[in-house]
């Protein structure tokens, strides 16, 4: 679910991203930011078919954290439906979406 290399930390998100599933993910990412100094986070949406605003909070919260130390966040393999949701919440202004 997590993979770290030179590019940064890749987070493979679950099938459904909601308040229930994001809590654990957030804690693990924040631990890696604090303990390993991770500053680049790649959210991989390849398995994700559902997301609500809890996912928006997860992405924007991590953006705020790493932006503070000059890092960045991106979202990859995002399907069209979820892309619409991210754009509606203005996430694309801060997070590169592919």
């Amino acid at each position: 679910m997590y993979e770290q290399n030179q590019q940064g930390l890749t987070v493979y998100l679950p099938k459904e991203v909601d308040h229930h599933t994001v809590d654990k993910i957030r804690m693990e990412i924040d631990r890696q930011i604090i303990e390993n100094g991770v500053s680049a986070i790649i959210f991989n949406f390849k398995d994700t078919t559902f997301m609500d605003s809890s996912g928006i909070g997860l992405l924007m919260g991590r953006y705020k954290l790493v932006n503070y130390i000059g890092g960045q966040v991106c979202a990859v393999r995002v399907n069209e439906k979820l892309k619409k949701l991210l754009i509606l919440a203005n996430v694309h202004k801060y997070v590169n979406i592919e």
Partner: protein, 140 residues
């Protein structure tokens, strides 16, 4: 509203029930032959409303959340209600990006998503009175 078909569920305000709630409403909705996009819209709206009950209404204490659905011709009406602490300023709560819990990474987009994905959203609440969210969507 003349109701052709109705259902009601009541469940604990545990986060694991967020998925149960949206999938159950989506299953009830299938009788209107919705598109995949319409199903996704309704699931997102229900997820937002139920998450609000858990995080804000009951502040993570376990109590009951009720969902009532009614179908009339091509329209579904969904009521999500809790007996929690209620909302002081409903207008403010519905503003995009406004949240009382930024420390928990809440995006403040819950009501904005409900309004974006449903045709109409009505919120009735007051301090100590619980919250009742009614949403309508015409399918097709």
């Amino acid at each position: 509203m003349k109701k052709e078909n109705e259902m009601m569920i009541e469940f604990d305000s545990r986060s694991c029930n967020e998925a149960f709630a949206r999938v159950t409403v989506a299953a009830f909705l299938t009788q209107l032959n919705p598109t995949l996009e319409e199903v996704a819209d309704v699931k997102t709206a229900v997820s937002e409303a139920v998450t609000n009950c858990i995080i804000h209404g009951y502040e993570e204490e376990v109590h009951k959340i009720k969902i009532e659905c009614a179908i009339d011709e091509k329209q579904i009406r969904i009521i999500v209600s809790d007996g929690g602490k209620g909302i002081e300023d409903v207008k403010k709560a519905m503003e995009p990006l406004y949240t009382t819990k930024p420390d928990q990474d809440r995006s403040g987009m819950g009501f904005a998503f409900m309004e974006a994905f449903m045709d109409e959203v009505k919120v009735e609440s007051g301090p100590g009175e619980g919250t009742k969210v009614t949403m309508w969507k015409t399918i097709g």
